[in-house]
Symmetry: C2
Subunit: 359 residues, 2 copies
């Protein structure tokens, strides 16, 4: 990547278009090779142009996390959306789901009998609305235990919903050397959940899982569909886990050196631009793309404090450097637009159309 | 606070107007009693209505962190703004500063001779532009050592800038039982910095410091001006430090219970709404306003996973609860509006007009 291809005011989010397109193509190829549908999670990019590139490369539809994300992407022309979340559906949310189901293929997550009944009670015209039962594969967040999937499916069917299968998110695969065992957990949980559905006479046509670190591992064994998100951009977490290398990082934050002291360089990108994500297994708050030895050791709202090793020449005051955020989904959700670069120049700007669409 | 005063879709940010006004009045009174000007930091609320309330209560002006925040508040009628940041001023940023200085009293931070020269070189018509020299009082982020303040001030004056004094941010006062010693560091650093200016013949008319935890401590000894921010809302960090109690928390995030399992309740407010801030000294990712024994132990983008003690009845699926975010400045910067409540009903909605204005 070029050092400073624009004179835009920093900080801003820069996307390397060629790297992005390579990442999209690689995951699409993986899906085809494994015979698994690819339904990428759009919460990572929240951007219509990237969704359309994913669909064009062969994705069957999108995954989203919220009703408002679904509304924005359906309005933007996406015809097949899965809200991979156990929504609590009151009358207002039910009306929004019905409106969506009229315009697109719509799937929604369910992880309780009560949730299924609330959804059914508040969706009067739900032709086209399908549900998947969420199971907990070890992340211990949402989802029922796999053996209860059949029971929840029956309750959903009793309530009048159209159950199409099961899904999980193996979030416990995030961390160094965790992906392989989480992927095994995911495969077993989904296998048992599908069996639980069949044991009560419900078909599990859809078996959906996958995250960026586990995508290649689990997809080869169990899934009919995978839902990776971060792979389009990658980030410092994916680097730390070894699920990508620097050549696959398609998004960086351009930041200016505003202050220097011995052993220290301070940049104008803080947590309000990079996001404050730092799980216990991450050593720092991000990485510098061009300075692997520098450590982004402290982050405040408008400053990144970088510990600079004595033996590496530090950039001058006013220099622009590239920061790889820890968690790219968080950084994107803080931005109004992505500055798109190719060959070292700005070629486009894409609006983060679903920024803040978190309800 | 009422349990669910509205049928707005969760998650959303709710401000208790009476608590907000009490917090604003209390800090204004403290400033008056100590004989110190109050210049609250607007990065916390990014909201015109709250800025105007602070000014009406007696604040002399606002502090902001970025040029774009300054532009938005000056456009909104604020006549006196301090950008408490060592800006690197290129020609584009210089033009923006000149435009601001024409419309308002404008102060900007400087912490290097090079930064001062860049600012002077790129601000052709800078009548009304004043600078304060930033010193490091122990937070080790931006700022020169206090003994170098005079040298930087002389360089700034040589470059043609109007130096009015010194400032610091005692950020190392964040943490349990750290405020008193950080406040002492702050007082000593500012005293030495002002002396350093005087030793080279420069008056230090402005001695500016203060954060919410240290405001009352340092202001009584050294400052001419204090710049607390978080006090308008408070948050779980301020609770943890003991700089406020629950009755002073004016902002909470309304979230719906979407999933339950033994010992676990999952809410629909994640890091994209609450912010992911969790310094090492914070036990959790936020607090539940009405359930002090529950622990917000995990946070993902769209879920808060709450460890629920066996002996406390858990809220039902679909119930709306109030979350106190760890760092309110981050939560506000993720929202487009604040839902204003009084007496348990919604009385207004305020736009977070400077959301994302981080450049």
């Amino acid at each position: 990547m070029a050092d400073q291809p624009t004179d835009l005011p920093t900080p801003y989010l820069a996307v390397d278009r060629d790297t992005l397109d390579r990442n999209i193509a690689t995951m699409a190829t993986l899906g085809r090779e494994l015979g698994v549908f690819l339904r990428p999670h759009a919460k990572t990019h929240k951007c219509r142009q990237i969704a359309l590139r994913q669909l064009e490369a062969g994705a069957v539809g999108l995954t989203v996390a919220t009703v408002s994300e679904a509304e924005i992407f359906v309005a933007g022309g996406v015809a097949d959306v899965f809200i991979a979340y156990p929504l609590w559906v009151d009358s207002a949310r039910g009306a929004r789901l019905c409106a969506l189901a009229e315009r697109s293929s719509l799937r929604v997550g369910v992880d309780s009998a009560e949730g299924a009944r609330a959804m059914a009670d508040n969706t009067s015209s739900r032709a086209g609305l399908e549900v998947l039962i969420e199971v907990d594969s070890g992340h211990h967040r949402t989802g029922v235990i796999p053996e209860s999937a059949g029971e929840v499916a029956l309750a959903a069917i009793d309530a009048g919903l159209n159950v199409r299968g099961v899904f999980t998110f193996p979030g416990h695969g995030y961390g160094p050397a965790r992906a392989a065992s989480a992927s095994k957990d995911e495969a077993i949980a989904l296998f048992r959940a599908a069996a639980s559905l069949r044991s009560v006479g419900v078909d599990a046509a859809v078996v959906s899982g996958g995250s960026t670190p586990t995508a290649a591992l689990t997809a080869s064994t169990t899934l009919t569909e995978m839902r990776p998100g971060s792979y389009v951009f990658n980030d410092a977490q994916q680097l730390e886990m070894g699920s990508c290398d620097l050549a696959h990082v398609a998004l960086t934050v351009a930041a200016t050196v505003v202050s220097r002291a011995p052993g220290r360089v301070v940049l104008d990108a803080g947590s309000k631009v990079l996001g404050a994500d730092r799980p216990a297994w991450m050593p720092d708050f991000g990485r510098l793309y061009d300075y692997p030895q520098a450590r982004l050791s402290e982050l405040s709202e408008h400053h990144a404090t970088v510990s600079w090793p004595e033996f590496v020449p530090a950039p001058d005051l006013g220099a622009v450097v590239r920061v790889v955020p820890n968690h790219v989904c968080s950084a994107v959700n803080l931005a109004d637009e992505l500055v798109v670069e190719a060959g070292g120049t700005v070629v486009d700007r894409w609006r983060v159309v679903a920024r803040g669409a978190n309800h």
